[in-house]
Symmetry: C2
Subunit: 114 residues, 2 copies
Amino acid sequence: MPEPPGLPGPLPEPHVDELRLETVLGALSDPLRLRIVRKLLLESEAYDHTCGWFGLDRPKSSLTHHFRALREAGVTRQRQYGLERRSHVRVADLDARFPGLLALVAAWTPPADS
Amino acid sequence: MPEPPGLPGPLPEPHVDELRLETVLGALSDPLRLRIVRKLLLESEAYDHTCGWFGLDRPKSSLTHHFRALREAGVTRQRQYGLERRSHVRVADLDARFPGLLALVAAWTPPADS
């Protein structure tokens, strides 16, 4: 869906043409990051979400690292809203470059121990 | 396609039901490993291939490591033929568990510097 006007600009990210399969797969090869992307896909792709929305029981510094890794790989877009960053999945870009990949993430089942 | 009779048994590998998306994506998040799997897919899925067939200019120990990582993640099956190991992609298993993933690998373009 088109972005509403007046949003803060996105933090630095690769252009859609620069997305690399190996980098995107690397960013998704972690259960916590798969969980983040899956929740964004299944529960609300329409909006930017803060770290807190995900309900992840991890130190903030660890979450910051994972959200940044997803953005730098081109999986998510992050915007700075005052003191906090919010994320959403770059669905159109990923579907254009790697069709079918997000369906695999949506269908992923978290490991039993997490 | 069904395997011909009389092949050496496969080396240890995860069962199709045990394949984990995060593990498979991790194994594929490397340009050399993507190159190996892509070449197997595009040029000859019907047979087991030795390291040498791939024409990769890397030390043998490095290749052994990468082929083992692919097998342990469940991407390839390896068999021991005397002193050498040969690999092929587990196409049916991967298509059953992660439909569309191998198409992304087949469509992958190696980075300009490799």
